[in-house]
């Protein structure tokens, strides 16, 4: 484990914990952004520059803004003193159990000991060529999905006509 | 077409920009402390008190009638009437302001004090460089600061000052005429009294004649300066 990795991983996990545990939802959203940025840092460490920067562009630039808008638009009228969680211990124990299982699996597996090969030669050009040849069907499906999602989101969230 | 309006506007602003370097029409700014525009005659800022003689305190026209104090809409005038009296410009015995303060930070330059003053004693000044470092007392001016000579008034508002001087001259003339008349009447009365006394002395005492020497105070309805 190297120092940069430790710093970024610690930041990512810490802000993820904050994102799920803080009371103020805007603080949660801002911590989530930090998690996204930390993940992008991890991607960059793994020589996935393009995906890392896409992560920042999409998550920090768009998804977090969506979440923040949603939080402000649903400014809770709920009473403040109500606990923000339901029966936390059940959920947390399920999560801890899941983590222990996965961690054991990871540590036991010989794959986990694998050391990285020298940085692979990745160019955005080949990525694009692959998208247009091998992955052209998923790409088209994705385009369709994004269009459908956009239309769906607009129609769902559209204000109903007055007097209806 | 979309965009032509933007281009037209940009040409116009470019003309303004270039014109500001050579065309005085397009750059009318006066760089104030160094360059000044002569004050317009109708300009007015804050009131001041007019005095006539060399000594500002002795020559104040104000008689502390407190009309302006009562009329002032923002109530920025504070007057304390004197205990004693002294002769005014007509030689009449009048009160004078022991204290006359105006809070210029409250004054709204409405000129009502000038309108109501029967004595042509409060006028509007054109002084505007009044900035001060004292936040609370700096703009509270007393009668020493307020007193300015009639010469100053003539300089800043020549037309008004002429009208005001004329009105005062009429007053003075009236007062002098009255005084003269009074003196004459007194002399006459005295002469009459004398003759009567003599006559009485000759023909025995008779009731004194009804002579009313009490001089009327100057008319309160004196026309304010036009």
């Amino acid at each position: 484990m190297t120092l940069p990795f430790a710093i970024i991983a610690g930041l990512t996990v810490g802000s993820a914990v904050a994102a799920m545990s803080l009371r103020n939802m805007v603080h949660c959203a801002l911590s989530l952004v930090l998690t996204f940025a930390g993940l992008a840092g991890l991607y960059l460490q793994l020589n996935a520059e393009f995906v890392g920067l896409t992560q920042i562009l999409v998550y920090v630039g768009a998804v977090s803004i969506l979440i923040v808008f949603a939080i402000l638009l649903t400014r809770s009228t709920e009473p403040k003193d109500e606990p923000s969680t339901v029966t936390p211990w059940v959920g947390i124990s399920v999560a801890v159990g899941a983590f222990l299982t996965m961690a054991l699996a990871v540590l036991a597996s010989p794959v986990g000991k694998r050391i990285a090969a020298p940085a692979p030669e990745v160019s955005v050009k080949t990525l694009g060529q692959k998208l247009m040849t091998d992955y052209v069907l998923p790409l088209e499906v994705m385009a369709l999905l994004l269009t459908a999602a956009m239309l769906g989101a607009v129609i769902i969230a559209m204000r109903e006509k007055e007097g209806k | 077409m979309l965009g032509t309006g933007i281009l037209k506007g940009m040409v116009e602003t470019a003309k303004n920009f270039a014109g500001s370097y050579h065309d005085p029409e397009r750059l009318t700014t006066v760089e104030y402390p160094e360059q000044r525009i002569a004050s317009k005659e109708n300009a007015r800022q804050f009131p001041f008190l007019v005095h006539d003689t060399e000594d500002p305190m002795k020559g104040l026209r104000c008689v502390a009638c407190q009309i302006c104090e009562k009329e002032c809409p923002p109530q920025c005038i504070y007057i304390v009437k004197s205990k004693d009296k002294r002769a005014d410009y007509k030689g009449q015995m009048q009160f004078y302001p022991a204290t006359f303060d105006i809070d210029l930070s409250v004054c709204m330059s409405c000129q009502i004090c000038v309108e109501v003053c029967p004595f042509e004693s409060i006028k509007m000044d054109t002084e505007f460089e009044l900035s001060n470092t004292d936040r609370f007392g700096g703009l509270l001016v007393n009668k020493h600061q307020l007193a300015k000579s009639n010469e100053h008034y003539r300089k800043i508002h020549p037309t008004e000052a002429a009208a005001s001087d004329a009105a005062l001259a009429v007053e003075v003339a009236k007062a002098q005429a009255k005084a003269k008349a009074d003196v004459e009447a007194k002399a006459k009365a005295a002469a009459e009294a004398k003759t009567k006394a003599e006559a009485a002395a000759a023909a025995g005492p008779v009731g004194a004649p009804a002579s009313a020497p009490a001089p009327k105070p100057s008319s309160p309805a004196a026309a304010p300066a036009a």
Binding site: F50, I56, L57, I65 | M1
Partner: protein
């Protein structure tokens, strides 16, 4: 002679290598990397904030002249009568903002309120790291993802704007932040799409690579700036429009429309934090201009390869083009009134977005027909393919916004 100019051109690079050579031989490698980075960062941190400072004065003077005023011309050297045409103003402003009281509203979210200006300034400064300022002068060369880095980092400023607006607990701040975010998200699409045409033609995301793609010569002396192609010409103006909106410049400065919402998202900021917002805004504009120069105006290239032009160092060309664009933005600010919110959104979605998409198609056509149609026919053809949609789309706006009936004035 030519060698001397070449040396002058490479002066910053030579200087850096000279300074790096001063390090003792036993210096560990990571320290050399750090020193090298610092040496690259320092000129950026010196030149662009200074440029911002000068721009504030020039902008005020220029706007003054445009509005038949003189503008600031007093502050010069203190305690003397030397006025320097008012160019001491920015120092006075800087000192003022440094020593002013830093007011934080009682209800504000203190931590977020404090972090917002920092979170705004850092991404803006980061965008400079991939711009090529001159030949071999790019602080961080990302051959695969340079442009994506610029946009990714630029996109994260939106969140800082939200942080500033939300943490102030002020309705004007929040309104300003919402407006700013809606505007930035809407205009980011035309911005990226108009930049994408260049990526498509140049075939690289690397910004120095994009400049290199414009070094071919036409007629033996004219550099093939992308501006000289029909799609580049239209793309450049689309890019500038979107960049003005991204940087909150007039006529798209609704987020800080003082007549409506005071100062927008930085209403509750004072003193040095306000200065940081101001600085970040201008630095963002400069970065956008720098990107526009790199993409369309040939970066650090002179317009023609002829003797007097090639003598000027490449970084001077970059800074000169940058200054020209800044002057253009000041000029626009002095000319145009502010849009309304619905006009702003309508313009982005109904005009800029279709235009950038058409531009993308035309650029592809231009690229594919390079060998089949001669330039004399190709240029007007492609230009017409852009001009006709422009005219049609623009007509919709004119019909909507120019004819206006006044009930009483007529």
């Amino acid at each position: 002679m030519a060698e001397l100019f070449a040396k002058l051109d490479a002066l910053p690079v030579t200087l850096k290598h000279l300074l790096l050579g001063l390090l003792p031989g036993a210096t560990p490698e990571w320290l050399v990397a750090v020193v090298s980075a610092v040496l690259s960062i320092t000129p950026i941190l010196a030149v662009f904030p200074l440029m911002f400072a000068l721009t504030t004065v020039i902008e005020r003077k220029g706007l003054g002249r445009i509005q038949n005023r003189i503008g600031p011309n007093r502050v010069g050297i203190p305690l003397t009568d030397i006025r320097l045409f008012g160019f001491g103003q920015f120092i006075a402003d800087g000192i003022k903002s440094l020593i002013k009281e830093d007011v934080v509203p009682r209800a504000a979210d203190k931590v977020v309120h404090f972090l917002a200006p920092i979170a705004l300034l850092i991404p803006v400064l980061l965008t400079y790291s991939v711009l090529p300022f001159g030949k071999n002068m790019v602080p961080l060369d990302l051959p695969q993802t340079g442009l994506l880095f610029f946009f990714a980092v630029g996109a994260s400023t939106e969140l800082s704007v939200f942080m500033a607006g939300w943490s102030s607990r002020n309705k004007y701040s929040l309104l300003g932040a919402m407006r700013a975010i809606a505007q930035m998200v809407s205009y980011e699409i035309p911005l990226i799409l108009s930049a994408l045409t260049v990526v498509m033609i140049a075939g690289t995301l690397s910004l120095p690579g994009i400049v290199e793609s414009q070094t071919e010569l036409k007629f033996g002396f004219l550099y093939t700036w992308h501006l000289f192609t029909p799609w580049g010409l239209v793309g450049f103006f689309l890019f500038l429009t979107a960049a003005a909106a991204e940087a909150n410049r007039t006529p798209f400065d609704l987020p800080e429309a003082e007549s409506e919402i005071i100062a927008g998202y930085f209403t509750e900021y004072s003193g040095f934090k306000f200065a940081i917002f101001f600085l970040a805004e201008y630095l963002g504009l400069f970065a956008m201009c720098g990107l526009g120069i790199t993409l369309f105006l040939g970066g650090w290239l002179p317009p023609v390869k002829l003797a007097p032009f090639t003598w000027v160092p490449s970084w001077c060309w970059f800074l000169g083009k940058l200054s020209a664009l800044i002057v253009l933005f000041i000029w626009l600010r002095g000319t145009l009134p502010r849009l309304r919110t619905d006009q702003l959104m309508g313009f982005a979605w109904k005009f800029l977005l279709p235009m950038t998409l058409i531009n993308l198609v035309v650029a592809a056509l231009w690229h594919l027909s390079a060998n089949s149609i001669p330039l004399v026919a190709r240029w007007p053809l492609c230009f017409a393919m852009l001009a006709i949609p422009y005219w049609l789309l623009g007509r919709g706006f004119e019909a909507k916004f120019t004819k206006r009936e006044y009930r009483f004035a007529n």
